[in-house]
């Protein structure tokens, strides 16, 4: 049986997720034994189509990205959104929270019209996506696990259990009990609660769970010293994208 052919692509992103995806030693070599990497611009020059699994990093922010993404879809049996930018829009969607004109002007001044852009969207707003590997950046172990599931023909992990689950099971001190504003209760898990493990509140990079109780979360954050304005800002670091943005 020939090995599955996998490829990596990127759109607007920091490419940190691709970097994390190869951030192994032994595991990477074992993985290379199971798959053929046929496209990976950041690391290899070869470029072949006819792909079994495409990992797509980055959000879609302008017209010319769409045909390229569609081409990837057409040539791949399975398309996986890799990382927050692709899954939920990530930090790139912050720009959706302000008038687009203003954001462009902030960066490019009177040359702003040279930068055609539209509201940031996750890739599943453009093409059908078969699975998600969440996080900013992705968690290496979660990536490995998911790749394995994909190769077994299984679905990627839903991660609808919030960050608190892993945090509690690791017996971290809950940051909320220490008065730090943590988004863990409504954020998708799967990261091993890495932020709280290092004493840093979860900022929601993996996206919100399917049915988040945002009102209760806002009450909780307010108890931890944030104003309503603070909370609104805080909750949009990674979760600014709303489907209405692009209607």
């Amino acid at each position: 049986m020939s090995k599955p052919r996998i490829a990596f692509f990127d759109f607007a992103s920091c490419e940190g997720c691709q970097l994390e995806a190869i951030n192994f030693v032994e595991e990477f070599l074992v993985l290379l034994g199971h798959v053929d990497i046929v496209q990976f611009r950041e690391a290899i020059t070869e470029a072949e189509w006819d792909i079994d699994v495409s990992f797509v990093e980055g959000s879609i922010t302008r017209e010319q990205d769409i045909p390229r993404l569609e081409e990837i879809r057409e040539n791949s049996k399975v398309v996986i959104a890799l990382g927050a930018c692709a899954c939920t829009g990530g930090v790139n969607a912050i720009k959706n929270t302000r008038p687009l004109e203003d954001v462009r002007a902030d960066v490019y001044g009177d040359k702003k019209d040279w930068f055609p852009t539209f509201p940031t969207r996750p890739i599943d707003q453009v093409i059908k996506v078969d699975g998600y590997i969440y996080g900013c950046p992705i968690d290496r172990n979660d990536f490995l696990k998911n790749v394995q599931l994909i190769l077994q023909g299984k679905k990627t992990l839903r991660h609808n259990d919030p960050v608190c689950v892993e945090c509690r099971l690791k017996e971290n001190e809950c940051l909320l009990t220490l008065g730090k504003p943590c988004m863990g209760p409504i954020t998708r898990g799967g990261c091993g609660a890495i932020d709280p493990t290092f004493g840093h509140p979860c900022t929601g990079c993996r996206g919100l769970v399917d049915d988040p109780n945002e009102n209760a979360a806002m009450d909780v954050l307010a108890e931890n010293g944030l104003t309503v304005e603070d909370i609104k800002s805080y909750m949009t670091i990674f979760n600014a994208f709303r489907p209405e943005d692009i209607q």
Partner: protein, 434 residues
């Protein structure tokens, strides 16, 4: 021979981000040659406006996955300058380790994964996995070493976790520092071997020189430290500036027949990055790094941009020795819990940090509630772009006798040598052609 050449390399591979190389030759005359940036703009400065002080570094570290720690560092330092905060000596030392880890992992990534395939005449590191498995394993191990070094302080190299304005959310344990120190010492011979290996294939490095201006951090007066974290802005033309004066150096400008913002200082263009640092500060390198430089035949000033890779390799040796010493110093002093709380206020501040690809500037203005009013980040790649184009213009006419494939490869190798970090270039304008 009057040739017509039309090269358009769509998305140069083995670089970070999307860039195209273009070369138009008509009747044997170079009409146009440039690196065309096609990366989607991400509007970071626009995204920062109105954000609270504790959100800023969270957001800016997402500018770039490779130099996430560098951006985070430049960010907290610019915030500290603006908010009037002085980090403790312990914090500064720990931050130096974070930066060291990042420079290591990025340099190794560049040397082994992006450049080495060209030197070995293959298209990527993957075929090397069968032909030179030991090298690939070494590459992975060294790159991981860099990550481990930053991880011990900030939890994760791609988007550091614990790094805050004034301090860290948690401090590393002495035993964790010892462990990572041990790892560095264990890996040193591998790097020395790498120097030999690269010295043996260095003949494959194209022979091309163009003298330019080199800009990097320089030591603050009296310091003997090869400056990464701290220093003045230093030009090889003999000028120095304070970080707050970075705009006097960068002078972002619009190129007449292109639409890209480029930078220049005293000459047509300037270079930042490992080679600029080497040229400006090589006397401050660790003796072992100096030895490696000698072995590689590198004597400052070096004017061949393809040699950036060698300068990086020399730097890795310096960084590893230096980090071992910093860790010793921290452990000797003992790790103490400190108060990292602070009050936001209105203010303006700038920072300059040497990240893998060169000097990085962040500059913020906060309002009285500690929210960003204005933000500006000038990325090393932005500063190098004009220099790359100038190199192209000198190089292209001299290689027209080669095959299109060879020309294209040489141009791409030049781009790769600079290790441009295109997704970083928040300031990058689209380069459009007629």
């Amino acid at each position: 021979m009057r040739k017509n050449i039309d090269i358009h390399v769509h998305h140069v591979t083995r670089v970070e981000g999307h860039g195209d190389v273009l070369l138009n030759v008509k009747d044997g005359r170079v009409e146009h040659v440039a690196l065309n940036i096609v990366e989607a703009p991400r509007f970071f400065e626009g995204m920062l406006r109105g954000r609270a002080h504790y959100e800023v570094r969270e957001i800016v570290s997402r500018i770039c996955g490779i130099c996430a720690c560098g951006h985070a560092l430049a960010s907290v330092r610019a915030s500290e300058a603006a908010l009037g905060i002085e980090p403790s000596e312990q914090v500064v030392d720990l931050r130096k380790i974070v930066l060291a880890g990042e420079n290591l992992s990025s340099h190794f990534l560049h040397i082994f994964f992006l450049v080495a395939p060209d030197l070995f005449g293959v298209k990527s590191v993957l075929p090397l996995a069968t032909t030179h498995r030991d090298i690939v394993v070494r590459a992975l191990k060294l790159k991981k070493l860099g990550n481990d070094v930053s991880d011990v302080i900030v939890g994760r190299h791609v988007h550091p976790i614990t790094m805050d304005i004034k301090g860290f959310t948690v401090l590393p344990s002495v035993s964790a520092l010892r462990d990572v120190q041990k790892k560095i010492i264990e890996m040193l011979p591998e790097v020395v071997d790498t120097v030999d290996l690269i010295a043996s294939v260095a003949g494959g490095i194209p022979d091309f020189e163009r003298e330019t201006e080199y800009i990097s951090l320089g030591p603050v007066s009296g310091s003997t430290e090869y400056p990464f974290y701290d220093g003045v802005i230093k030009s090889s033309e003999g000028m120095t500036y304070y970080p707050a004066e970075y705009r006097k150096v960068t002078n972002e400008f619009i190129v007449p027949d292109s639409t890209a913002k480029h930078c220049k200082h005293l000459r047509d263009s300037y270079m930042v990055g490992a080679l600029a640092r080497f040229n400006n500060n090589s006397d401050l390198l660790h003796p072992e790094a100096k030895k490696a430089a000698e072995k590689l035949g590198m004597i400052a000033p070096v004017h061949n941009p393809y040699m950036i890779t060698l300068a990086q390799l020399i730097e890795t040796i310096h960084i590893m020795h230096d980090t071992v010493e910093i860790i010793d110093k921290i452990i000797r002093r003992g790790i103490k819990e400190e108060d990292y709380s602070y009050q936001p206020r209105a203010g303006t501040g700038s920072s300059a940090v040497e990240v893998p690809r060169g000097i990085l500037f962040h500059h913020y203005t906060y309002d009285s509630k500690g929210r960003i009013e204005y933000a500006d980040c000038v990325i090393p790649t932005t500063q190098n772009l004009e220099n790359i184009d100038q190199d192209f213009r000198k190089l292209a006419p001299t290689i027209l006798d080669k095959s299109e494939e060879e020309i294209s490869l040489l141009l791409q190798m030049l781009v790769r040598a600079y290790d441009p970090c295109i997704s970083c270039s928040t300031h990058q304008l689209n380069v459009r052609f007629k």
